[in-house]
Subunit: 307 residues, 5 copies
């Protein structure tokens, strides 16, 4: 496989990683309809853990079967598929080689009070299942944040030594943070930056709102006139916060929403220089044909010239 | 031993497991009177830990002797026998090869306040005792749920690598859950799904009630018209929540109850597509002959064409 | 050494243990004046840890020297001597081969508030000191009970793999238990049963009182007419709770008491089928000659035909 | 490379270290414009973790790119560059051999309530990235201080065995300490001394204020007439507290401040016998040319004859 | 080196230790002016950790330099020198072979609220630094006492396997203990006994006061007429509590006090059969000549025939 100059350039950002990890990043970046463009669309299916099976799959019951998601990701021409242990185990052999997979190695659920997650998979699991990366969530700001970061440190060290890539879901939550704080502009950029400092290869955050939350940060954002008036501008700042754009930064779709709202968000991500979308509920809860149409439209946006 | 097409099909669900684990699952599925049907009846004897010896065995004092349960499971033609370390050690050599065993590796007791269990056995124990699987209880919703899931993760990884199967008792308990919540329809399906996501080969839950507990889930169950009006329908949904029926799901008998109530429950499990029953107190607390009769009746139900 | 049929029968109860562990159990069972009878008298000296040196040894100052206890156990013709690390280290070489020793690997003290113990010895210590077994205390019911059981699990696994025997002191304490509960009939049987389930070879409990403590248990004890009117009857039930008598169950002497009270208790243990006595303060706090006389009387009871 | 007599003398202070560690200390001491003088200026960039990306880098956006800091440190002729994992990974290959690096292996953030840090890097990371040292922060006085010291102990032992140097940021914080206490004269000297006792090769503290905080210490400072009237005198005492000046002690610049204030502080450090400055925000938040000018002025001070 | 009969006798107390540990005990017992007498004087310098540098060293500033203490111990003809990691590292090569050293592997500080210590050194450190023993503090009675004892257990096992000796500082503190309790006669004897049970070779306690603290102990002390009227009598009982005098028991000097008070205390220790003194502040806070004179006087007392 001949890597494109764009992908070669992205790999150069990860200058301290071994060829194994670079190879797995390349595998993700070269896969599917966006292969070689430096943009990615990833299908994550951990909502069964987070919200329960019926809330996740009843709107489209075919999605109860783990193989549905592998097949959807392959047919839609996505870059990768991310899910917890059981979901990957249930299709990894059938779809071996068909699509890069990301083993999500920690998860929370709707019955929990603590702002924490359980570690539910390992690097050894990722290797035996042929995954290209592990995925890990941190909750910056939560009372358990240091413990989560230390779990990530240990897993990431092991993953990198084994030639895997590391994808970090950085979701501010808990502690002093209220609902506004969780998606505030400064907090989102801070969360993304911390994921980069922790050694993530790919950083997943939510699209930031206009709000500024930490007083000390607000002063700087205002003094330095950091533009928070459009989503594209905010995306651009979050990407800048990730080593001046030298890390892959993908944005989640968040709650199921209307197609137009979603595509508008994707356009802003694209315009702001985001690396792509990681989008679950908005796809697998629709009938398969609609999901494929939506993913094709998203991919078309990322293929178009940016903003 | 020639595996039946049904068992071969079930083994195909576990496509990421090694031949050792598949062999142990096959051993359980091919054993006893239901051997080859894809249905199972398992004898679990951990009530001594949970409720104490007299509450468990005084109604039928022969059951104080661990060898009684091995012999009962063999004579009744069951698929497997599950018990804590001491119970297995006390008969494993005498009954080596006579019946697949499941080492229950964690346990709670009636003196505990915490909604947690102590880890009381290991994979090394299971291997030296010739067991086919380990059994582990999680309490989704409890304050200790993440710790329990992490213990399971570690033990399950080790068990799978050693060619053992993993049976998960998923019993919602503690935290915000009240008594209704513990067996509510949505919560039971959620607990079963989480066990599947954690990589369980066999999932044990309680038969769900009609109640819907989480508000966010209730909306979806009503909007999607998920049938909660019969036990068979509820069983069918729980099985669907386990990877669309691609995991073995067995149901506990719960408190000792009348024979007719019990058989009715078994019929509903059978009709709803459950994989079988795991039934303790209702058998070993009866005189041996009655227990054998009851187990024969249960097995007959599972052998009959499903509703 | 020719094992007696009685000892051979006892060893058959431990059918899953390796020859090393069976050999160490045999060593204890064949030692001293009760050697070969299946009954045992063991000298435990951990009161220095539990109550302090003066409360333990000032009544008989020769007992401050650790070698005193080795010599007493040997001269009295006991089956084994149990003590914490420092006590064993101080005499293990001088008395190598003279008497089986049990390394008590956890201990509490009178300054503690928590119902827990510190782990103070290891399997490696037991091996280098030539011990036949490790001893470990659990406090069923305490807030720390699961942690204690998990420490036991780990140490017991290691001990069994190394061919050592495992003796468990099962002392209900803490949590919801009051003073009555700690020695209540149902609780004592429950504690003994849990030790058996945890894989103990030898179970040490206190002689149970008449009280019934857990409501749910009380109903069963009354319904099943379990005899609690004599100590011998209660002993019999505790022994039954230990795998129908297929585990060695020894009873502690408890607080120092009059000779007649003590011998009466021993007669009841013997009559009820207990495996013997583990008796400390009542011996080493007396002048040596009196202690030897008392131990000889106890041994005579255990040698007589059981009630 | 011919070591200067001054550097050879400093290395002699570390008489128990292996040649690997001495070599890495020499590498730092011989690097840059101060090479061989026994004084050092180090660039630390962990403010992104501590305060967030915009507060750290928005005043000089070129600093968002991790390579900016490597280049700045090289061009300014500094002795070393210290940063968290992600920052080092992003430039370690490009700048391999160009400047000694210190991997900062723990970090806190502005969203945390606990006075603690997360361990975010390892000795294995430092080795694979070609670093000369690890850096670790302790918070003497905090509720988590013992845990932090134990993490340091473990990492320092591993680092020293691997031939790396150990730099300790010793910042009193939390527990009974108020804002005055955090920088009080006695507390600062105490914190520096504890870092020395913990085996640090290089100790980083804040310049102490005049305040005396612990009553018991205050009495001694007054009785012994320890001079607290000038910063140079206070620096001299802190250096004395580090094994009578036989450890490298560097002082942080603290909050961004005016150029003159900063240079005055540096003159006092120099006059008091401090080993140098570790200075971040005051450099990388200025335009590059200004930062280079400032660093050249600081270096000139350290090159001049002391006080 | 020809061991004296007295030292040979002491070594015989440690009959379960390997030749490496016996050799290190012999090294300490044969060193210095008391070499071969069975008595020891040890210099401990951990006050910098406990109280801070100025409170420890400002009265005699030469003592800021770690080499001062090595030299003082050597010149005074002491048996050993004990200090934390950094202090030992700073002189271990210069004084290699000149005096046995004891690495103090845990420490507290005056900023701590918890009655606990941080582990700050390891057996590997002790070995690479050529130490003869590790030193460890426990706080019997504190809320963290079990954790501290478990840390000691692990370190002591490792130290003994490596041929090192184990010195335990047993200082009752925290929990229910008030200031009177910390040095009460019964509590001091209890603390010393627990150190012996934990496997200490050398036990360090404070000289006990007349007070009796635990009610249950007080009854026994009064009934058994244990003499608490002179310090010598109390020392004798503490020594008896350490395996009837078959462990080395040394007493700390405590707070700096007048020379006569100190020498009187030493005479009582000698008269009561204590093994010697471990004395820090009272020596290194005096001018060197005075310290050497004082130590010579102390040594003379221990050389004289005991009371």
């Amino acid at each position: 496989m001949q890597l494109t100059p764009k992908v070669k350039d992205i790999l150069s950002w990860y200058e301290s990683d071994n060829p194994g990890t670079k190879g797995n990043l390349a595998r993700i970046l070269m896969e599917g309809k966006l292969g070689g463009t430096g943009r990615v669309v990833i299908l994550p299916v951990d909502q069964g853990f987070e919200h329960g099976p019926a809330r996740s799959f009843a709107p489209n019951p075919a999605a109860y079967d783990p193989r549905y998601h592998f097949a959807l990701a392959v047919e839609a021409g996505l870059n990768a598929y991310a899910a917890p242990l059981g979901m990957i185990e249930a299709g990894a052999a059938s779809f071996a080689g068909a699509i890069p997979t990301i083993l999500k190695v920690n998860s929370s659920n709707s019955l929990a009070n603590a702002k924490d997650q359980a570690v539910t998979g390992s690097v050894a699991d990722a290797l035996r299942l042929g995954c290209s990366a592990i995925g890990f969530t941190i909750y910056p700001g939560s009372d358990d944040q240091f413990g989560m970061m230390e779990e990530l440190r240990e897993l990431a060290e092991e993953a990198k030594a084994a030639g895997l890539a590391v994808v970090v879901w950085s979701y501010p939550r808990g502690g002093n943070l209220d609902k506004v704080g969780e998606t505030a502009f400064d907090i989102c950029a801070y969360a993304a930056h911390m994921a980069a400092l922790l050694g993530a290869h790919v950083i997943k955050v939510k699209p930031p709102s206009e709000a500024l939350w930490l007083d000390a940060a607000k002063k700087v954002y205002e003094a330095q006139k950091i533009d928070n008036t459009s989503l594209a501008a905010r995306i651009r700042h979050v990407v800048q916060a990730c080593f001046d754009g030298r890390r892959l930064v993908v944005f989640s779709g968040g709650e199921a929403k209307g197609t137009e709202g979603l595509l508008g968000e994707v356009r802003a991500i694209h315009q702001g220089g985001g690396s792509g979308s990681i989008i679950g509920r908005n796809t697998f809860q629709r009938p398969r044909a609609e999901a494929l149409k939506l993913l094709a439209d998203i991919i078309d946006i990322y293929k178009s010239p940016a903003g």
